[in-house]
């Protein structure tokens, strides 16, 4: 199970997912609206996830 903090909901969930894309699909989150971060490193959609990963889904900030 991957532990995911979803910033928009200020909530942590546990979910089984093999890649970032798989994770976002299961959470029904549009990949273009978040940055996926693991251990302070940005992940790409095809990056693999491992059990016990701690993932953060951060909102994209674009105001100016």
């Amino acid at each position: 199970m991957v532990k995911v903090f979803i910033e928009r909901k200020n909530k942590t969930e546990e979910i089984t997912a093999s890649t970032v894309m798989d994770l976002l699909k299961k959470l029904n989150i549009n990949p273009e609206t978040v940055l996926t971060v693991r251990n302070n490193e940005l992940l790409n959609l095809n990056d693999k996830l491992e059990k016990k990963d701690n993932i953060k889904l951060l909102n994209v900030i674009s105001g100016g």
């Binding site: 900030i61 105001g63 100016g64």
Partner: protein, 309 residues
């Protein structure tokens, strides 16, 4: 004027800064705060914005006051900055940046203070192709980010993908304190880059509600549409003017549109390089090079045109 800065960076670096010109794109909250700091630091400026000042801007757009309402931001900023530092060269351009005038960005560095991802990705592509350092800054609510895209750093398109559901400062709100903080750090990064000092490689993300600073390591996306091999997103869309429903779409690869692409549309007029068409009571200008100008962006229109190519 620069004595107190010279005592830290040295006279040679100050002279170096005095020779540099940077473009500030967007003279809103981040742009006006950053321009103020950069002008005082002795850096020549090119200011670009199409917008005018309204009362809600006065919370965080530090160059403007009540007497400036309805005036053009770039021109007003120019006048204020000239009073602050008459020793530097400042130019202003009242325009919206699109793919027809990207050369206006030519300078020693571009500071991105725009307010939407589409424009940010457009200028990222120009800066990447022309090897112009890009410092990206953005804010919303209690949070802000800064990222330097130059040298072999992943470009902005490796990080952000084009999307339309953005949270806007107009609707979500923003604190002037985060604006001030993010502007200060962004300007500090600009100066480091201009002086060829060690600049921040990570994506800096700051949350002043919880006083948290994150340094997020970025990496190149091999499918990036700008610096990678990606072609998955075949077009870019961005606002044409203040009216949010107007758009221009530019394909990211070479395509050729002819009448056979437009069988789902009613062709009302045609010229050597474009068609005026109608679709569901909506007029669009479609250029033979694939550029589309219209109102009320709908993805199905794009698919109809490009997928019939």
């Amino acid at each position: 004027m620069y004595e107190r800065q010279i005592s830290l960076i040295g006279k040679e670096s100050q002279l170096n800064l005095n020779k540099k010109t940077i473009t500030i794109l967007g003279l809103g909250a981040l742009g006006s705060n950053s321009a103020n700091l950069l002008a005082r630091a002795g850096i020549n400026l090119k200011l670009i914005d199409f917008d005018t000042i309204d009362e809600t801007n006065l919370l965080s757009q530090s160059l403007y006051n009540y007497n400036d309402l309805k005036k053009n931001k770039a021109e007003t900023a120019f006048k204020k900055l000239k009073e602050i530092n008459p020793l530097i060269s400042i130019n202003f351009i009242n325009t919206i940046i699109d793919d027809s005038n990207l050369d206006l960005l030519k300078s020693d560095l571009v500071l991105d203070c725009t307010d939407n991802i589409s424009t940010r990705l457009l200028i990222n592509e120009y800066c990447y192709k022309n090897k112009i350092p890009l410092v990206h800054s953005a804010v919303i609510g209690y949070k802000g980010v800064i990222y330097n895209s130059l040298d072999n750093q992943p470009c902005l398109s490796c990080i952000y993908k084009s999307f339309s559901n953005e949270e806007k400062c107009e609707t979500f709100g923003v604190l002037n304190t985060i604006v001030s903080l993010i502007s200060s750090i962004a300007v500090n990064e600009v100066i480091k880059i201009l002086l060829k000092e060690n600049y921040e490689k990570a994506l800096l993300r700051i949350d002043i509600k919880n006083n948290e600073i994150e340094k997020i390591k970025t990496k190149k996306d091999k499918n990036c549409i700008c610096c990678g091999l990606g072609e998955s997103i075949s077009f870019k869309t961005y606002k044409l003017c203040k009216n949010e429903t107007s758009f221009i779409i530019t394909p990211l690869k070479k395509i050729q549109i002819n009448e056979s692409n437009l069988k789902n549309f009613k062709i009302k007029e045609k010229t050597n390089n474009s068609f005026l068409v109608s679709y569901k009571n909506q007029d669009l200008i479609i250029y033979k090079n694939g550029k589309i100008i219209g109102n009320n962006f709908k993805k199905d229109i794009i698919n109809l045109i490009y997928e019939n190519g």
